[in-house]
Amino acid sequence: MRLLIIEDDRDAADYLVKAFREVGHVAEAAHDGEDGLARALDTPYDVLVVDRMLPKLDGLTVIGTLRAKGIETPALILSALGQVDDRVKGLRAGGDDYLPKPYSFSELLARIEVLARRRGARQEETELRVGNLHLDRLSHMVRRGEEEITLQPREFRLLEYLMQHAGQVVTRTMLLENVWDYHFDPQTNVIDVHISRLRSKIDKGFSQPLLHTIRGTGYMIRDGAR
């Protein structure tokens, strides 16, 4: 995956470039808005990581200009402001995701991987499948093998989100944002309990677990045979 990091703090940018390279991505850094915009116009990147406050041209303007020119490269906004209205502003300007500083690298990585693959057709599929687990988005039916599984509406949405991003790490915050539409920190890790409930419904009694905990980061659903 090819990434452009537009961040004026050189230490932070270098850290990110290095960290992304370590996990096998190609990352470059631009240190101001104009440079970032020029490079993003020039090179087809998979994802842009854009700091909000940048010299010369601020992050939202960079994204807005790209969108106006028809360039739809997914963009994740990093911001030190981290407030609800700030987030909304970022998304309105054409950002695809928003992460307040300070962030953990694993959170950023998980979000970037989801963004990079977002343009796949998964969103529109009516049936999601991971191993022998089936989820029908129209009839809201879930099956594991031949066995039908009954889920609460929220559990269904949780599973749906995980299956949409099968093979990708999703963090607790991503789940809280996308399944519950909350952008605050619920102090106690309520998500873990929801996951363990879901796990007991879809994995219990099967030799091959599908729902995995990724230590220190979040969760992933994947076919164990992979």
């Binding site: 609800v84 929220r154 909350y182 619920p186 102090q187 106690t188 309520v190 309990v193 409930r197």
Partner: protein, 474 residues
């Protein structure tokens, strides 16, 4: 600036001057008009009287000739307060009457004239040489001339009296007006000075001072009361700010110190990679906790500054109760606590959905933390938490009731403050900011968070006005 100069510069005094000028002009106009009209009226009366007398006397002359006229005139002229009469031959020789010393030529032209005169029965007086009279000269058949007139002094006297009265009243209006204006101005100025004085000392840093309120309920009082409310708010904010910085200093320094100590110790003593790794993991965990605390503080600050008022939308508080209940139910269940939601009726409200959700989540989180888990062996019944959304008048109540240990009444107000955690709860994880954030969110919406006894347990109530925060009316 001199005291008097300051007085003259005030709005009150300038207004007084304007009103005074208007009133004085009006009074002058009124009295002048009155004086002129009085004069005209008296003149008219005189004319009428003179005309009537001339008609009467002409009649006498027609009936009895000059002799009869002379007798009648003589007789009339002697009456006290009589009109002025003079009957002469065509050559001007007086036949009868009571006037003399008329202006020369008066008798030559018939008709109306004003003339000086002297009564025959009074001696020549050097001090008041002349009286004035309005006379009419009438030509009788046979060459006789008859003059009838009335004294004008009375009219002039009256006219002057009215004019004098006018001058005096205008003068008095001006004097009293100025005095009144000065008095009122000084009174207002004194109160404004007192306010200025107080605000100076407030600016100098004494936020506890309040503007004086006279208790008359007038506009200055209303202003002072509103300014005092504003000061109270500012003082509370300043107090809060001070407290926050104190608490930040205390509560952020503690984990920071711990962080530093741990890192230092790892550097000093760790020898294996596993040990270093463990130390680093502990460091990240500790810093995550710090970030969380910091975020909560920012959130509170933001809620208290009222910024979030811009994001207010209409939403259903009952839905929030259901959502939050649903979010926490598995966690409660895992701890052996029964969490029920009672929010069947929609409770529409205007507010910040995200913040209200978080406030309610914090209350539920708290309740789960402190509720007694079921312990069958010890015969403890399972803890119960009830989340409710209730419509009450023009408010919506979001209630979280538990049957845990509760909070002693004396401590209830204190736990809403930032970072306050009761001794018993020091062992529990948390930043100690949950309840203060909930309280700040309630205040942002113009509502309040109250903690009540649930007998046993605690009942947290977030009361929010249905229409969102209302501006304080002036």
């Amino acid at each position: 600036m001199t005291a008097l100069g300051k007085l003259f510069r005030t709005t009150t005094f300038k207004l007084t001057l304007v009103y005074l000028t208007v009133f004085a002009l009006f009074a002058a106009f009124l009295l002048g008009y009155f004086a002129l009209n009085t004069r005209r009226l008296i003149t008219e009366q005189i004319t009428d009287t003179v005309n009537a007398e001339i008609t009467g006397l002409s009649e006498q002359y027609r009936q009895g000739g000059i002799r009869r006229l002379v007798i009648v005139v003589d007789e009339r002229a002697r009456r006290p307060g009589s009109s002025l009469y003079l009957v002469t031959t065509f050559s001007g020789e007086a036949l009868a009457g009571n006037v003399t010393a008329l202006q020369p030529g008066t008798l030559d032209t018939p008709g109306w004239a004003e003339s000086s005169y002297r009564r025959l029965d009074e001696a020549e007086d050097k001090d008041h040489p002349d009286h004035h009279a309005l006379v009419r000269v009438f030509q009788l058949p046979g060459g006789f001339r008859m003059l009838v007139g009335r004294d004008l002094d009375e009219r002039e006297r009256l006219y002057h009296i009215v004019l004098d009265a006018g001058r005096w009243s205008v003068a008095i209006v001006i004097i009293l007006g100025l005095a009144g204006g000065l008095f009122v101005t000084r009174r207002v100025l004194r109160r404004v000075d007192a306010m200025t004085e107080t605000s100076r000392s407030i600016m100098a840093g004494d936020l506890g001072e309040r503007l004086p309120v006279a208790g008359t309920g007038d506009e200055l009082d209303r202003l002072a009361i509103n300014l005092n409310l504003m000061l109270e708010r500012i003082e509370a904010l300043m107090h809060g700010l001070k407290e926050v910085s104190d608490n930040i200093a205390h509560d952020l320094k503690t984990p920071l110190t711990r962080l530093r100590n741990r890192t230092e110790q790892a550097l000093r003593t760790a020898s294996s990679e596993a040990e270093f790794r463990a130390a680093l993991e502990g460091t990240i965990e500790e810093s995550d906790g710090l970030i969380r605390t910091f975020n909560a503080l920012l959130m509170i600050a933001r809620a208290e500054s009222g910024q979030a008022r811009d994001d207010m939308v209409d939403f259903d508080a009952a839905e929030i109760a259901n959502d939050v209940g649903e979010l926490y139910e598995p966690l409660a269940d895992q701890k052996g606590i029964v969490l029920t939601v009672d929010a069947g009726t929609p409770a529409p409200i205007k507010g910040n959905r995200e913040l209200v959700s978080q406030a309610l989540a914090n209350l539920v989180d708290n309740a789960i933390k402190y509720a007694e888990p079921a312990d069958r062996a010890a015969g403890v019944a399972p803890g119960e938490i009830l989340v409710k959304a209730v419509n009450e008048g023009d408010r919506v109540l979001l209630i979280v009731a538990d049957n845990g240990p509760g909070i002693p009444e004396a401590d209830r107000a204190r736990v809403l403050e930032r970072f306050v955690r009761l001794e018993q709860s020091r062992s529990q994880p948390g930043s100690g900011l949950g309840l203060s954030l909930a309280a700040a969110v309630a205040r942002l919406h113009g509502g309040e968070l109250t903690l009540a006894d649930n007998g046993p347990g605690l009942k947290g109530i977030i009361a929010l006005p249905r229409g969102g925060p209302v501006q304080i009316a002036g």
